[in-house]
Amino acid sequence: MLTETERREIEHEVQTLGHRRAACVEALKIVQAHRVWVDDEGLRDAAAAVGLTTAEMDNVATFYNGVFRRRIGRHAILVCESVSCFVCGCEKLFEHLKKRLAIDAGQTTADGRFTLVPICCLGCCDRGPAMVIGKDLHTDLTPEKVDLILERYS
């Protein structure tokens, strides 16, 4: 079941947008904000809240790369793997992250802290390599800098 807060937030989006189904991405984001990822039950209930079938909702959910349909860690590390960051050495950085966290792309650390996600351009190509953790953008990264940054997330 959706929590009271989730339900209220989704309904607010529906009212603002004026079309029920238009709120479906918002609904998914709301569920994800409260639960870290969108579980099957959350998907089903969010679908009902915006007047879609579960299948229609999953159709949308699996399209967008910001909707997590699998359990992830407490923090998703989104590392830019696009061209400007590539030119500036993001491959080495990614290798460093994999080693340091002892996981591969798409996996979650054993302590459930981090999930490592390669992502396309973060729109700060003049300051690459770059990554986003939560709402924080980290730029001009080096392996040393990354190590210090990771300490800040528990």
């Binding site: 991405v25 918002e26 967008y64 696009s82 061209v83 030119v87 396309c120 190509c125 003049d126």
Partner: protein, 426 residues
């Protein structure tokens, strides 16, 4: 008057202007002038005469697009204005500058543009991960509502406009204007058949104009400064300034507002970006983002305007160039680009869905030393099969642009990979 209207209020590293500060700097004067002294058609005509070309990549004349919108009392309602702030093209970071740096400029531009086409509802479609921009836009929109610049009966003129923001859940194809419509309607972001074009049949079947962030930010300045002033800002037949950017291994990567066509590839790299880092050499550039053809040394004196870059065999695109240096493998770079496009293909049409991963595999084989001579011809063939007119939307034709030009200009590098059965850069 200023020669850098779009960035005049931007103070790097500091909070953007508040409503009060923006007004003190002359903000919302264009809205007052447009809505009180000019008719919607007057504004449309000004924008057309100013020769403002779309800054989202395609360079379509903005005024012409607006003229397709049904006007008058019998026009279908509500009409929509959508700001395309999806900015996910790799190498592109100019709209971020405008959104974070001067959100009120974008809000004012949206109100004036909405007035010109008599839109009732406006949306900003903002890409995921632009959280700072989202926060600043939300504040600017709220301030504009409380000042009476948005909502019912704006400035007592009877004009009404609701402005909302949608934060995307991320997918490059959302930036394609008809995919964007589907995304806003809560569907998979798959492009729609054209015609009908969005200005006639768009969001929820109603007339809809989709415009890039930078394009919209130009609108208040055209109204304020007038057509001849605006046209004199540029160094080519089209009007205005352009936010140019450079990324890659240059000394000072960044973005600068300059006269449209008032800078060459070489000047951008040497004079703005401080030249190449640590004795590296520039081998080529993608002049306008990931989906533009490479330009090489012989083109470096090309002025960065729509016509000149097209004449050199590429596109101005978003105007944010990516530099390839001589220590970076061109095959690796093209593989990286093709991986992006293959991943971001929406999967709707077969040539793109199947063809791009196939190209990616061939490029990976070459990069890893498993390629064969005939792969180069096969890649070239794919560039034609995925080119303009062969797919449902321009994603695939854009994707093959860097590949086809790399095969032309960096042929030796491809052949060396095949011959030596390894990447010479690794």
């Amino acid at each position: 008057m200023t020669t850098t209207p779009l960035t005049q209020n931007i103070r790097p590293g500091r909070e953007p202007l508040s409503l009060k500060e923006y007004e003190a700097a002359g903000g919302y004067q264009a809205l007052r002038k447009a809505i009180k002294e000019l008719s919607p058609t007057d504004v449309q005509t000004m924008v057309k005469d100013a020769r403002l070309l779309g800054r989202g990549g395609a360079g379509f004349p903005t005024g012409l697009k607006w003229s397709f919108v049904p006007m008058g009392p019998d026009a279908p309602r509500p009409k929509y204005l959508l700001c395309n702030a999806d900015e996910m093209e790799p190498g592109t970071f100019k709209d971020r500058l405008l959104i974070e740096g001067d959100p009120h400029q974008l809000v004012e531009g949206m109100i004036v543009a909405s007035y010109a086409i008599q839109a009732d509802v406006a949306f900003i479609f903002l890409r995921a991960q632009y959280d700072r921009g989202a926060e600043r836009l939300r504040r600017a929109i709220a301030e504009a509502y409380s000042a009476g610049y948005l909502g019912k009966n704006i400035l007592g003129t009877g004009f009404c406009l609701e402005l909302q923001m949608h934060e995307s859940a991320g997918r490059y194809i959302c930036g394609e204007e008809t995919a964007l419509l589907n995304s806003l309607e809560g569907r998979r972001a798959i492009p729609r058949t054209k015609p009908p074009f969005p200005p006639v049949v768009g969001l929820w079947g109603k007339p809809t104009v989709v415009q890039n962030v930078e394009t919209i930010c130009n609108v208040p300045h055209i109204v304020n400064g007038g057509v001849s002033w605006y046209r004199a800002l540029s160094r080519c037949e089209d009007g205005g300034t352009k936010i140019y950017g450079v990324s890659g291994k240059v000394n000072r990567p960044g973005a600068w507002e300059l006269p449209l066509g008032g800078v060459t590839v070489r000047q951008l790299i040497e004079e703005r970006a401080g030249g190449m880092r640590d004795g590296l050499k520039c081998r080529g550039v993608l002049p306008g983002g990931a989906s533009t053809d490479f330009l090489v040394e012989q083109h470096f004196d090309t002025p960065m305007d729509f016509k000149s870059v097209a004449k050199a065999g590429s596109r101005l695109g978003t105007g944010t160039m990516i530099v390839l240096d001589d220590q970076t493998c061109p095959v690796g770079m093209v593989l990286n680009l093709t991986h992006f496009f293959a991943t971001e293909s929406c999967g709707w049409c077969t040539p793109c869905r199947e063809g791009l991963p196939y190209m990616e595999n061939m490029l990976r084989a070459i990069e890893e030393g498993r390629g064969e001579e005939r792969d180069l011809a096969a890649l070239e063939e794919h560039c034609r099969w995925l080119g303009p007119g062969m797919t449902f939307c321009p994603l695939a034709p854009g994707a093959v642009e860097p590949v086809q030009s790399a095969l032309k200009y960096f042929r030796d590098d491809f052949e060396r990979h095949v011959r030596e059965k390894r990447c010479p850069w690794r």
